[in-house]
């Protein structure tokens, strides 16, 4: 049975044994060959390509990648570019609003769905179906609804409410809220499903105990259930957060960065400079900044999830 590597945790492979190198490569050789696509993806794509991008963001590459180190020049230029600064401000504003509202609405809807209501599966079907649609479809539908002359605004004015204003899509100061409405429409249902799964995972006994102690329902939710759902909450924040950093398709479909450059986002900056502007160095520096922002979300999470495990 020693060859059956079902329990490697018990240490069937010991580095002190003779023939260690052979064992490293030949032991379970079929499994290693079968896992080659995964190993290659991890080493070449996730590690290799990321390292390449970070390295070449410190070069003066323009039309083609060029291997001449110029230090932080690209980054200095990046943060001297108006469009980039607008992009990151937009992402921060949109991201914080989207994250807070998605979580709040998702939790609120999950709580409502958890009240032993009728037609639960019908409500869930309605709330989750936008999540099946692509961001392109989402963006184009809302672009039509928010059309100032023939969409919701025009309709309301034609119906007699002449002061009705819903021109967010063409108003540079409101365009982020237009994105927000479309983004929430697509994503809240998903968050609700996650939260509902979390709520259903809470022990029934907790509710009985809280009732016996006379704690009001809302208080039980905030002070007892929510902390117990820590795992689901953190996972939701990570998934929603990393989705926000990637925000691209929705902007392309809904506003294409407009009006002017008022709804530009970093992912679009990267794409436009890499494939449209022939300025690879800028694109690489911008994408490295995107990576950095994901790391800021991920590292605390990884620490909480994996670093804290020993103490619990």
């Amino acid at each position: 049975m020693a060859d059956v590597a079902t329990q490697p945790a018990q240490g069937t492979e010991t580095s002190t044994r003779p023939g260690f190198i052979q064992r490293l490569f030949l032991h379970n050789i079929t499994a290693k060959v079968a896992a080659l696509p995964m190993i290659a993806t991890v080493l070449v794509i996730f590690v290799g390509c990321t390292a390449w991008t970070i390295y070449y963001s410190f070069t003066s590459s323009r039309l083609l990648p060029r291997n001449d180190f110029v230090g932080f020049d690209q980054y200095v230029r990046l943060f001297g570019t108006n469009r980039w600064n607008i992009s990151i401000t937009n992402l921060l504003m949109y991201g914080s609003m989207s994250l807070v509202l998605t979580l709040t609405l998702g939790f609120l809807l999950a709580v409502l769905m958890d009240q032993k209501i009728r037609f639960e599966s019908a409500f869930r079907t309605i709330m989750l179906y936008p999540f099946a649609l692509s961001f392109i479809v989402t963006g184009l539908v809302w672009q039509w609804i928010m059309n100032p002359t023939l969409g919701l605004q025009g309709t309301m004015r034609n119906l007699g409410w002449t002061g009705f204003t819903f021109d967010w899509i063409s108003n540079p100061r409101m365009v982020l809220f237009a994105l927000l409405i479309a983004g929430l429409w697509q994503g809240v249902g998903f968050c609700m499903v996650l939260m509902l799964a979390g709520l259903r995972g809470v022990d029934e006994e907790i509710w009985k105990a809280a009732k016996v102690d006379g704690i009001p329902t809302w208080r039980t939710y905030i002070s007892i259930v929510l902390p117990m759902m820590r795992g689901v909450l953190i996972t939701s924040v990570v998934i929603i957060g990393s989705g926000i950093v990637r925000l691209y398709d929705l902007v392309v479909a809904l506003t294409n960065g407009g009006p002017g450059i008022s709804s530009e986002v970093p992912a679009k900056y990267v794409y436009d400079y890499m494939f449209g502007g022939g300025n690879i160095g800028q694109g690489l520096a911008a994408s490295t900044m995107m990576l950095l922002s994901v790391m800021i979300i991920m590292i605390p999470w990884a620490y909480l999830e994996f670093g804290g495990k020993g103490r619990r």
Partner: protein, 310 residues
């Protein structure tokens, strides 16, 4: 945890309204609390349903009707012209062949990408659970963390690699890309599933002398139908809805439906035809919507799978 999500609709109140009083005395239905709950839920449902309604009614209207300016109005009569035009003759940039080429491109991309990515991920999951080797867990951890790296970070090097391999801008190229980026979530899915199977089964087969592939094809695969369906739903909707990879890697001959749809609406010249736009939008959303409505709770399980940690 995904299990609990799928079970959520189980004690359905609708089915228990059989004849005769049973159980404890029912509480009155119209308590203020209930009214508040249902009002809120209905309000949000309207928000979620409104775009679908607008999309459908607009696609059946004629342009003069749309210019009349009532987005809520039911169409005077159901007019399928916009649908026909969206499918056959709407302009996607330079050519005016409608969405149908895009649809078939998406089919050509989605089917092989789904099959290849699921097969590779199933093998990965199986190897990670039953045939662990030195470093396999490290590779798996990096794979999961890698799924959070923004795609834009790896985009340019991937263009260079695929170009070197001669598959940039071809169907095999986009299939490889979808396989790579589908790998983390699918591997996680299969790894968790295989880990939940009884290990005795594997050991017994091993004692009987079956090898890696034989156990995989004869024991593991036949037992993993449920997770295959979940993976299938996840991949088909995910790949169908993709925009970024399609626009970068598929090449001008193979642009998927989402890209063509965006071209129809956003780079149209002349007066925009909103009914054609909306018909095209519905057409693009149709495949994932059908999958969603047919698969029901399995879809929920698929999307929740991403949230379940290994």
């Amino acid at each position: 945890m995904s299990q609990t999500a799928t079970m959520s609709g189980a004690p359905d109140a609708v089915t228990s309204s059989g004849p005769g009083p049973r159980g404890p005395k029912p509480k009155p239905f119209f308590t203020p609390k209930k009214i508040m709950i249902y009002t809120t839920l209905v309000f949000f449902s309207l928000y979620f349903l409104f775009p679908l309604y607008v999309m459908l009614v607009t696609s059946f209207k004629t342009m003069p009707e749309i210019r009349f300016g009532n987005i809520f109005a039911w169409p005077n009569q159901f007019n399928f012209d916009a649908w026909v035009r969206a499918w056959t003759s709407a302009c996607t940039g330079l050519t005016c062949n409608g969405l149908s080429p895009g649809f078939w491109n998406s089919v050509k991309i989605t089917i092989p990408s789904t099959i290849v990515s699921i097969f590779i991920a199933a093998v990965n999951g199986y190897a990670l659970v039953n045939w662990r080797f030195k470093g396999s867990e490290i590779f798996f951890s990096i794979l999961i963390f890698g799924s959070f790296i923004p795609y834009q970070v790896m985009l340019y090097p991937l263009v260079m690699i695929t170009r070197e391999l001669g598959i940039f801008g071809t169907l095999p190229g986009i299939i490889v890309i979808h396989t790579i980026f589908g790998m983390p979530i699918l591997t996680l899915l299969f790894r968790n599933y295989f880990a939940s199977l009884p290990q005795e089964l594997f050991k017994a087969a091993r004692v009987d002398g079956a090898g890696f592939w034989r156990i995989f094809f004869e024991i593991m695969l036949p037992m993993s139908l449920p997770i295959f369906v979940v993976a299938l739903i996840l991949q088909v909707t995910g790949i169908w809805n993709d925009f970024l990879f399609g626009v970068v890697f598929a090449g001008t001959q193979n642009l998927p439906m989402t890209v063509q749809l965006n071209n129809i609406v956003n780079s149209a010249q002349g007066t925009p035809e909103y009914n054609v736009n909306m018909a095209a939008t519905v057409l693009t959303g149709l495949v994932p919507l059908i999958i969603y409505f047919v698969s029901g709770k399995l879809f929920v399980r698929g999307v929740a799978a991403g949230a379940v940690k290994g």
